[in-house]
């Protein structure tokens, strides 16, 4: 409990301090230090018992711990990347940039630690708003359009999620209001009609924030226009937080024996996301938008995993780790491409292997990691989810997913390999790949690779805990 509160207080205090600091250098140093300290605290939380006591508003259960650690790791990589990004852009708007990053970290921590669903909602709202100035950082018309779509759709989504939260409170017959533990404990006393209404609104609300089709319209535009570190943070941490919201609701629904009601909408939205993203990726030539659709695809897979249940829950928990890390790494790597050629259009960059070898390697490794090839962690999680689908008698679903994955792989490989393996134009510039530019994504991809080779016992235990909380089991 104390550790949880400390983790929450750290970015808030540091952010307030950073805002008054006069020097940009010191501020970025503080950002890095805070990020590192936050990650260290998260890792300490794996060792120390800090689960929520009954009735606590804050505390780290298995699911929260997983999401918080992912968010924290992604944040550290993004903090490193932001420094390089701002240096390349003459430090413009750096104070606001850093302030919003701190704000986001605090909000994401609040989401992950909340055991009170209204408190979690406040955290979710704060993440949305903290992101808006970051998306608008370049202040062009295109980024204005992107931030408008992002704000409008996310705000409506978050509003509907609040509506759903109220329905959940109204459905509650016993226990302290909206405390997750009490909701699960007294699940039998929840009024079914109101509970279902709550689920529908929360699914639409948090689904919009996750970017599930058909509520994904903001995602390609926002990821395509936001600065690369911001897009990395959104794809890696923001969507993970949104998923946590959906997972919490599913947790309550499962406890209330409403899984049969939950399954069809989750599967439908998830499948729609897969189909839509695969369809749009075939024609996509912009790297950032390509990965944005990839994010839609993976969020869809997570929704499907929640809808399958059983070992699918374990798969979902592992997938959130793998997807968060690798997606952030990819956006940071694409950021390097943009530094080199000022565009993320695949047509604008040739012969990346010669011009930015490290980034190229990262992009190719990332291609295999994102598409769920062995030996990366996403292979393990996707394998678990597909296995669970077969186990649950949804073999058709597994087959459809495999077909769509194949399409996605071809579409992504087509674009990425063309960027990497073509011959560079004569006289093309070369990117000075300083360690700050490649260290973050390299560490993230490395982590995904290691987790694919071996899931350590403590992680496996926590993942199994999370799966059990969601009514599933470890495979």
């Amino acid at each position: 409990m104390i550790l949880a509160a400390a983790l929450l207080a750290l970015p808030v205090v540091a952010g307030l301090g950073a805002y008054w600091l006069p020097s940009a250098r010191v501020r970025m140093g503080l950002l890095l230090g805070t990020a590192a300290l936050h990650l260290a605290g998260c890792l300490a939380a794996w060792r120390l018992p800090c689960g929520p006591a009954s009735g606590d508003w804050l505390g780290l259960d298995a699911l929260g711990l997983i999401v918080l650690t992912v968010a924290s790791a992604v944040f550290l990589a993004v903090a490193v990347g932001s420094r390089a990004f701002l240096a390349a852009h003459a430090q413009r708007g750096e104070r606001v940039f850093a302030g919003c990053l701190f704000g986001f970290l605090g909000a994401a921590t609040l989401v992950a630690e909340s055991q009170h669903l209204a408190l979690m909602w406040i955290g979710m709202e704060a993440t949305t708003l903290a992101m808006a100035p970051l998306v608008f950082h370049s202040r062009t018309r295109r980024s204005l359009e992107a931030v408008w779509k992002y704000l409008l759709l996310s705000s409506v989504g978050i509003g509907l999620a609040l509506f759903g939260t109220f329905f959940l409170a109204a459905a509650q017959g016993a226990g302290r209001p909206l405390i997750l533990g009490d909701l699960v404990l007294h699940a039998a006393s929840l009024q079914p009609g109101l509970l279902r209404a709550a689920f529908v609104f929360l699914l639409v609300g948090y689904g919009t924030k996750m970017g599930l089709a058909p509520l994904h319209a903001w995602k390609p535009d926002t990821y395509g226009e936001a600065p690369a570190p911001v897009a990395a943070l959104m794809a890696g941490a923001l969507t993970s937080c949104a998923f946590l919201g959906l997972a919490r609701v599913t947790q309550v629904m499962v406890a209330a024996h409403q899984f049969a009601f939950v399954r069809p909408p989750l599967l439908a939205l998830g499948l729609a996301s897969l189909v839509v993203s695969a369809g749009f990726m075939v024609w996509q030539t912009d790297l950032r938008r390509l990965f944005a659709y990839s994010s839609v695809e993976h969020m869809g897979l997570l929704a499907i995993a929640l809808g399958i249940g059983g070992a699918g829950m374990f798969g979902a928990a592992l997938h959130i780790v793998g997807n968060g890390l690798v997606k952030a790494a990819m956006f940071l790597a694409v950021g390097n491409v943009i530094l080199l050629s000022k565009t993320s259009e695949s047509g604008g960059t040739r012969g990346l292997l010669r011009r930015a070898p490290w980034t190229s390697v990262l992009l190719v490794l990332g291609l295999f990691a994102v598409t769920g090839s062995p030996p990366f962690a996403l292979f393990v999680s996707e394998f678990a989810i597909l296995g669970a689908a077969f186990h649950a008698g949804l073999a058709w679903l597994a087959l459809v997913i495999v077909v769509l994955f194949t399409i996605v792989f071809v579409a992504m490989a087509r674009v990425l390999l063309r960027v990497v393996y073509t011959a560079p134009e004569p006289g093309a510039s070369v990117l000075a790949e300083r360690p700050a530019l490649v260290a973050g994504p390299a560490l993230l991809v490395g982590a995904v690779l290691l987790l694919g080779l071996h899931v350590p016992a403590p992680l496996r235990a926590v993942l199994a805990d999370a799966a059990r909380a969601l009514g599933g089991n470890a495979p």
Binding site: A118, L144, L151, G193
Partner: protein
């Protein structure tokens, strides 16, 4: 006669229709401000004991929804040359009809939602219809300011629903709503302001650069 809160709730629905039926941006904002003022009176009318909590909620709502946000939006359109909703995706008559249908749907489904401890049986249908009308405005209008007002109406509906839970989940809920509206519209207002500068217009159909 009927209790005051029923009257207030009915007036809330009428302001919904006002937002639906008007094309002038300033009139839309005025409608939202009126609705905000009605909502500020609602907790006092519903919970007669006038606890400090309810008084604070009413004062906060009045300040944020009836004064602050309308002023912000008015300032955002002050420099705009074109202050009318020119061609909404759905005509004003059709959106009024659709709004009436939404109200009918809300009233017909709300008996199926037996919410415990309700002070007024109008609360839920009015909340639902306001949420739906907010969504209609959001999706069928082109001007950024009208869309923000649609969002505001949507939030107002959620607020009305939240009042039914204000006793069971105190503070957090109302703080949440106010924070949401305040911060959300505040940020949107800034974006609208930038939009005005960048495009000389508040028409979101200018937003066609980002297509696939």
């Amino acid at each position: 006669m009927r209790p005051v809160h029923e009257l207030l709730l009915m007036l809330v629905v009428l302001t919904d229709f006002w937002v639906l039926g008007t094309g002038r941006l300033s009139s839309t904002i005025r409608a939202a401000a009126c609705q905000g003022a009605l909502l500020a009176m609602l907790p006092l009318a519903l919970y007669r004991d006038a606890s400090p909590h309810m008084l604070a909620l009413a004062a906060g709502t009045l300040l944020v929804k009836a004064f602050w946000l309308p002023r912000l939006l008015t300032r955002a359109i002050r420099e705009a040359t074109d202050r009318r909703e020119v061609e909404p995706l759905l005509g004003f008559n059709m959106s009024l009809v659709l709004g009436a249908v939404a109200v009918a749907v809300a009233f017909s489904i709300s008996p199926g939602l037996p919410i415990p401890g309700l002070r007024s049986d109008l609360l839920v249908p009015v909340a639902l219809s306001t949420v739906m009308i907010g969504l209609i405005v959001l999706t069928t209008r082109r001007k950024a300011v009208t869309q923000v007002v649609g969002y505001l109406v949507l939030e107002n509906g959620i607020y009305v629903f939240g009042l039914s839970q204000a006793e069971r989940v105190p503070f957090l809920v109302d703080v949440g709503v106010l924070l949401d509206v305040f911060a959300g519209v505040f940020v949107m207002g800034i974006v609208v302001f930038h939009m005005n500068r960048a495009f000389d217009s508040l028409d979101t159909s200018n937003f066609a650069e980002l297509e696939e």
